[in-house]
Subunit: 198 residues, 2 copies
């Protein structure tokens, strides 16, 4: 005896999600078996409608409800700064700080040799198109501080050289609440190297 | 700016699954945004149909495609032995050994004082009903070897005393591949206590 086909089918679907193995998928399905039928229908509908109700902003390439998105069409924002991010989640993380008033450009990932993600797989062409209007004065690189993020940053600095645009990147240093004793060497080295005057 | 409503709605649904927090839910949704539309519709349908296509066997109370389930209606199986399990997943784990040919009874959980699961919340009434036919000769207790499993076992031994049915339980001892050096004391004590003659 195996699981009823409808249960196995749903387990198979859940198993495709990142970090979800068959045992976790089983747990999810058995939770859903006890869930309220109405809520279950809502869940199914949310998945079915996911792609219908979202679009990609053709300016900054973020996932949004409208094209252009609410950020690109906001005339109160500073259109002379573009913050480069790997994906929409990073964009939303920066938005949640409420400290940034410029625009964004979603690259769709970072250069990654191991996963074979090359510059031509990312949204560089669209970025260069946006720069043609000559209104952009600064580009902020907001990638994760890891090997892929650094590689991508280096590539962009080279790519943007002819444009004479200021290129900056997120500060490196100790995160809030860090413990010097347990900080890794690179973080601590960066904190020293980029120390600020008080 | 927050997530588009349709994305937030799906994140909220995923967050309700056991062990899934908002960050994991986000990850799932962003994976689904890249998934094939047809597969996504299949996923939605699998959730929508989950309860429609499954039923509970009114004899052994397992989740199944039919009532009675394929096990209870199989005349080739030994109907004089009932294996008591907490839920359908445990039933399937035992089935997958292909070593058991009797019937099952799904209790729907185990007695748990902390979570306030009392005997009256479990399927004991249905079990006693099955015993009225006087065809059952042995009951195997197949609960997890923990406090709740032990409590439930003790309760059942007392409950079944008037019925003069043999009550057995799964063997305790070292699991395959165990390392004596790292085995916990209770496991090792049990392995000694229940040692077998070669």
């Amino acid at each position: 005896m195996r699981y009823p086909a409808s249960i196995q089918n749903l387990i198979d679907h859940f198993s495709k999600l990142p970090t979800v193995g068959p045992k976790t998928a089983e747990r999810y399905v058995f939770y859903l078996l006890k869930a309220h039928p109405e809520w279950l229908q809502g869940f199914a509908q949310a998945i079915a409608e996911l792609k219908e109700k979202t679009t990609v902003c053709q300016t900054c390439l973020t996932i949004a409800e409208t094209n252009p998105c609410s950020i690109c069409s906001d005339q109160k924002r500073n259109h002379s700064i573009i913050c480069l991010v790997a994906d929409t989640r990073d964009l939303l993380a920066i938005e949640s700080t409420k400290q940034y008033n410029g625009l964004y450009h979603v690259l769709g990932g970072v250069i990654n040799m191991i996963e074979d993600i090359k510059p031509e797989n990312l949204n560089f062409k669209q970025l260069l198109n946006r720069l043609k209007q000559n209104t952009v004065k600064e580009i902020i690189l907001a990638f994760n501080p890891d090997l892929e993020g650094e590689t991508t940053s280096m590539y962009i600095v080279k790519l943007l050289k002819p444009y004479k645009i200021k290129v900056t990147r997120l500060a490196k240093g100790l995160p809030m609440g860090a413990d010097l004793e347990y900080a890794d060497e690179i973080t601590l080295s960066n904190a020293l190297k980029y120390r600020n005057e008080m």
